[in-house]
């Protein structure tokens, strides 16, 4: 009988990529999210368990007969009150962990982010450092850092827990990073911060899904359980090249201007405060976290991840850009 995997946040960018890879590898997938599952996922034969992960009873219900969990549901906005990040990313994660343990699930893959350990210094071929809630920048990173520590602390015999940190996921179907870059480029508002020379590595969306599917298979392997693993394409590029090529794939111009780093970061701080105080909805143009992310090198040593997960990225950057361009190409 096929292994049954519960994926939370199934309609999200990473969650849906994970579902596609899990189905492709022969798993039976149960997807849990508040809204309806996108039809292309439903068409794959995925079972829907609609519900809120904050609802313990609903989660316990969805956990029945499940072998492994991929917990991808999270609040990913770049701004908002701490209480909302805490409720979704910390408290609800605890709920999902409790339910999984209670239901006798043996493997648990927590979807995290490299930003949980990014405290502002350049990361140059770095390893997956332990999550650092006090050092992490911004509510999102801090709440994910707390949740990751909580999840990994549950790792024990019979309940293997790992944390997968996909780094800057982009690609066809990405409504977060990719869509934002393209929207700004089309509006002529795409800028680089500082020289744009910081090297970053990124993850094509399908590769993130594959890595998660491999992690589900290998959660119990020594070095995987109890540990965070950063996942990326392992192809660092400058920020300006990534922005330019994503924008150009969508037929929009790349960044034309540059904002000095100090200005962007200071501006970001002011904006964050204003947004929070005013309770303004929508997305601010910049935050200090974003400024740092776009001005500081962060790329990772992928040797251990690839060995431990027995995984290599299937879609290289060049192919990723081609796929993106094809998806934006005018039909007909």
């Amino acid at each position: 009988m096929a292994e049954r995997v519960l994926v939370t946040g199934g309609s999200g960018v990473v969650g849906s990529a994970a579902i596609r890879s899990l189905v492709a590898s022969g798993r039976e997938v149960v997807a849990m999210q508040r809204g309806a599952l996108p039809s292309e996922l439903a068409d794959l034969g995925v079972t829907e368990a609609r519900g809120d992960i904050a609802n313990a009873a609903a989660v316990a219900q969805a956990m029945q007969g499940i072998d492994a969990v991929v917990h991808a549901a999270a609040r990913v906005e770049i701004i908002g009150p701490w209480s909302e990040f805490e409720a979704v990313n910390v408290t609800a994660t605890r709920t999902v962990l409790d339910a999984a343990e209670g239901a006798g699930v043996h493997r648990f893959v927590f979807i995290s982010s490299p930003s949980v350990a990014h405290v502002g210094e350049p990361i140059v071929g770095g390893a997956a450092e332990p999550a650092d809630p006090p050092g992490a920048r911004g509510h999102y990173s801090r709440s994910k850092a707390m949740a990751e520590l909580e999840a990994l602390s549950r790792d024990r015999d019979g309940f293997a827990v790992t944390a997968i940190r996909p780094h800057l996921v982009w690609g066809v179907g990405d409504t977060q990073l990719t869509a934002r870059i393209v929207a700004r480029a089309r509006a002529g508002r795409l800028v680089t911060i500082g020289s744009g020379a910081a090297l970053i590595d990124t993850t094509y969306i399908d590769n993130a899904g594959d890595a998660i599917a491999c992690a589900v298979a290998r959660t119990t392997v020594e070095g995987v359980h109890g540990q965070p693993l950063v996942v990326s394409n392992g192809e660092p590029r400058t920020v300006v090249e990534m922005l330019t090529r994503i924008a150009e794939a969508a037929g929009a111009p790349g960044p034309r201007r540059s904002v000095p780093f100090a200005v962007a970061r200071a501006g970001g701080r002011v904006v964050e405060e204003y947004w929070e105080r005013s309770g303004r909805a929508g997305e601010p143009p910049v935050t200090s976290f974003l400024a740092e992310q776009l001005a500081t090198a962060h790329w990772f040593d992928q040797r251990q991840t690839r060995r431990l997960l027995d995984w290599t990225p299937r879609v290289g950057l060049d192919e990723g850009f081609e796929r993106l361009a094809a998806s934006y190409a005018p039909l007909g």
């Binding site: 020379a197 660092p236 400058t238």
Partner: protein, 851 residues
């Protein structure tokens, strides 16, 4: 004024608290020592002794690096470090007695190697001389046993010894402790703090003042007799291996103290660490590992095979043969001087006799600060004739490099033009100063003892002396590496090796000095004119700026060829380009003179094919060849230009080994460390290792460099990486130090650079690695106008990436541009990729909190 012994605080950087122990020696006091015991019974014991005002912390890396089979003990003298503050003044003999009693208490038994720094030197030597039966070796770092006569004591010591200053500087204030930790090139703050930790208050510093007061600066001093006895007795340590590991820039124990120690122990191995100051173990990270390596090598059997016998020869043999020949031996088109064989032979012989008369002895080093020309040639052959050693610090090193080179080689005498003697004077070079040029006011200002002409006159007026010829294994020449990546290294050639070099050139290039069509050399790379007389061929130096090959023209080259009937030309790509670009002005007869050239050697850097085509039109009869080699061994291989045109492969084709040259490859491991064993398997990339009778004898006063280079024994590790192809031809892929280590393994730079250069249409590109070895990503840096360092645009980046991928399979992360790439002064072609990597890394790290 007393205080008990203590253990150091547990958090000093690099210090393992488990090493600390307190040893009570009845009747003397309690010592704090660092001890790293051996596992099992020790193979040997290392006894490390600090100086003033440091403490055993100085040796923490020695304890950390030493093999487990050694017992390593580093002591704190009584009153110093964390040892007991005992009452009374301890003099040198007390301190030797202390050490003696301590090693008894620690039950130290042989074999023992002593290691010491600063005033720990005399104490450790005092101990060593009392324990000769157990003594296996002696290591000394920046120390002294004797104040060289006529020379002032170190300034810092003299200052500290002035009576009102002494206690104030050494005890009441932390001035002396601070001063000493500042005698380093810049230690981290926490290490400086660790050095100062035991000397925080005046009471804890009393022994520091006593130590300074105990330095015998005059014969009546209570410790003078003890120190003199040690200084005399170390001369008897002829059967004990000695290693002198020396910081070159120590304002306290400067090179003259090294010279004094070498005079007393001529068999000592020396390694002089460039730019390291007094605390050499801190300033030169290699120092402690090298000391460990030196001690380890004592257990090995001797490596050097006895040298084979060769028939006695002399560099001036051809010159002497032609002593009756009135044809031109050397034509200097710069001065217009033409000197015949008979005049050159006579003048060389006169100068040789004159130099002997002036007291220049066989083995003395003589620096030649003279541009190529008849004077240099005569001075060099005269110096060789009397068995003295020629030191050539050429202007290609740059002024700073020349100064460092001369200081490191320590010539005893100088022959120089006014600027050269001026340099010798500012460097305080000792011995005779001989001026090349006319006497005049300058003679006195430059403190010249004589002009070269006066030396010749002295020689002429002296009854013919029977001057002994130097032996084959006597030193003949010290030259310097170009120092493209770090300080220039002195390279020593013996006479035997120079004879072999002369014969190799003759055989490799079919050089004939007799018969109907004797060869003659156009030295467009001027230093090679010096080898003309050894080969017995005439040579001509074109009218050019010696240090600027681009000042050459087709006209001046043709004139030089005409002056001697030139058939050979030694040149460089830059010189060749200059000749080609001025060919339009050439007259008919000038064309004829260039057409007589039968062989053109271009050395220093690869020659672009289009330049060769143009040169070939100008010199249609000439065969073009580029010899591959380096300061330590040249020439090694040769490639005929026709092969270069069609050559496609990873790297630069340098051709086949010349007869008499062995080439091996030391394959690179996954971490880019070359293997010990050599292979000749095709297409295996590794360090290029060579062996030939005309390679260097050794590096000068760089024991550790020599040891690493001499592997296997009798071979030379070139520091270049490359491979042999199926036809046995050698390809150079870059410098070992510049190899990237990516997650997929080592990557050599040249193939990617050539692809990038072609794609971006630039003359220079560098491939560097960003990140730690093992996870490095490749980045291309192009020479291009624009900012000093900037990003290439996304379009060019993608084109260069595709070109590099196509040529090498390598995926370049980013493409940068630089307005000027750092290159060496001598060739203007060797890229300092290490420096570029440093700058590119900072640039690509972005602007985070550290940026």
């Amino acid at each position: 004024m007393t205080a008990p012994a203590l253990v150091p605080p547990p958090d000093l950087p690099g210090l393992d608290p488990a090493w600390s122990r307190l040893v009570d020696v009845p009747g003397r006091g309690t010592f704090h020592v660092l001890e790293r015991p051996a596992t099992g019974s020790p193979q040997l014991t290392v006894l490390a002794v600090h100086g003033n005002p440091t403490w055993s912390y100085l040796w923490r890396r020695l304890l950390a690096h030493a093999p487990g089979t050694w017992r390593v003990i580093a002591v704190d003298h009584l009153g110093m470090g964390y040892s007991e503050r005992v009452p009374g003044v301890r003099r040198l003999d007390d301190r030797i007695d202390d050490l003696d009693a301590l090693t008894d208490a620690l039950q130290v038994s042989g074999p023992v190697v002593t290691v010491a720094h600063d005033w720990g030197g005399p104490i450790s030597l005092g101990w060593a001389l009392r324990h000769r039966a157990d003594l296996r070796g002696v290591v000394l770092t920046n120390t002294a046993v004797h104040q060289p006569p006529g020379a002032p004591a170190p300034t810092l010591i003299r200052l500290a010894r002035m009576r009102p200053v002494l206690r104030a500087l050494t005890e009441r204030t932390p001035g002396f402790v601070r001063g000493t930790t500042f005698l380093s090139r810049g230690m981290p703050a926490d290490v400086i703090a660790a050095y100062r930790a035991p000397y925080r208050d005046p009471r804890s510093r009393r022994a520091i003042g006593d130590f300074v007061a105990d330095i015998p600066l005059n014969p009546g001093h209570p410790s003078a007799a003890v120190l003199d006895a040690i200084a005399d007795e170390v001369c008897t340590l002829t059967d004990v291996p000695v290693f002198l590991a020396w910081g070159s820039d120590d304002p306290v124990f400067s090179d003259r103290y090294l010279r004094d120690l070498v005079t007393r122990m001529p068999h000592a191995d020396v390694h002089r660490y460039e730019k390291a100051r007094h605390l050499v173990t801190e300033d030169a990270p290699a120092c402690i590992p090298d000391i460990v390596e030196w001690i380890s090598h004592l257990a090995e059997p001797a490596r050097s095979a006895p040298a084979s016998a060769v028939p006695l020869d002399s560099m001036d043999a051809r010159l002497v043969e032609r002593a009756g020949d009135t044809s031109v031996a050397i034509a200097d088109l710069r001065s217009g001087l033409r000197v015949s064989w008979s005049v050159l032979a006579a003048r060389t012989s006169e100068i040789a006799t004159g130099l002997r008369e002036m007291g220049i002895a066989p083995g003395d080093r003589v620096a030649m600060l003279v541009p190529p020309g008849p004077d240099l040639v005569a001075a060099v052959y005269a110096t060789w004739r009397i068995g003295a050693v020629v030191v050539v610090a050429d202007s290609g090193l740059g002024v700073r490099g020349m100064r460092r080179a001369l200081r490191s080689a320590e010539p005893r005498h100088v022959i120089g033009i006014p600027a050269g003697l001026g340099l010798a004077r500012t460097l305080g070079l000792p011995g005779r100063r001989i001026l090349v040029g006319r006497t005049g006011p300058a003679t006195r200002i430059l403190a010249a003892d004589a002009t070269l002409s006066e030396v010749a006159r002295v020689g002429r007026g002296t009854a013919a002396m029977d001057i002994a010829f130097p032996g084959p294994d006597d030193d003949a020449l010290v030259v310097f590496t170009s120092g493209a990546t770090g300080p220039a290294k002195g390279v020593v050639y013996t006479h035997r090796r120079l004879w072999a070099l002369r014969d190799a050139l003759r055989d490799a290039y079919g050089i004939r000095n007799t018969g109907d069509n004797p060869d003659a050399l156009v030295a467009a790379f001027a230093p090679w004119a010096v080898l003309g007389p050894a080969l017995g061929i005439s040579s001509a130096i074109p009218d050019m700026e010696i240090t600027d090959a681009s000042s050459l023209t087709a006209d001046t080259t043709a004139a030089a060829a005409a002056a001697v009937g030139g058939t050979l030309m030694w040149t460089s790509p830059t010189a060749l380009r200059a000749i080609v670009s001025t060919a339009d002005h050439l007259t008919g007869s000038g064309r004829g003179d260039l057409e007589n050239l039968r062989l053109v050697l271009a050395a220093g850097a690869p020659v672009p094919p289009e330049l060769l085509d143009q040169a070939a039109r100008l010199m249609p009869r000439a065969e073009f060849a580029t010899p591959y080699g380096m300061t330590e061994a040249l020439p090694l291989t040769e490639v005929r230009i026709d092969e270069l045109r069609t050559a496609r492969g990873s790297g630069v084709l340098v051709g086949r080994a010349l007869p008499g040259v062995d080439v091996g490859i030391a394959p690179l491991g996954p971490d880019a460390v070359p293997a010990v064993d050599l292979v000749t398997t095709p297409d295996v990339t590794g360090e290029i290792v060579v062996r030939t009778p005309w390679m260097r004898e050794r590096y000068d006063r760089r024991w550790a460099t020599q040891r690493r280079a001499d592997s296997p024994a009798g071979w030379h590790r070139t520091g270049d990486v490359g491979h042999l192809d199926a036809e046995g031809r050698l390809w150079v892929e870059g410098r070992l130090a510049h190899v990237l280590v990516t997650p997929d393994g080592p990557v050599t730079p040249v193939a990617a650079e050539l692809a990038a250069q072609r794609c971006a249409d630039t003359s220079l590109a560098a491939l560097v690695g960003i990140g730690r070895p093992g996870v490095q990503v490749p980045v291309i840096v192009l020479l291009a106008p624009g900012p000093s360092l900037g990003l290439a645009d996304v379009d060019l980046t993608q084109r260069v990436r595709a070109a590099v991928r196509e040529a090498t399979g390598l995926e370049v992360a980013a493409v940068l541009t630089m307005r000027a790439l750092p290159v060496d002064v001598r060739h203007r072609s060797k890229i300092d990729r290490t420096r570029i990597a440093r700058e590119a890394s900072a640039f690509l790290a972005g602007e985070g909190d550290d940026g």
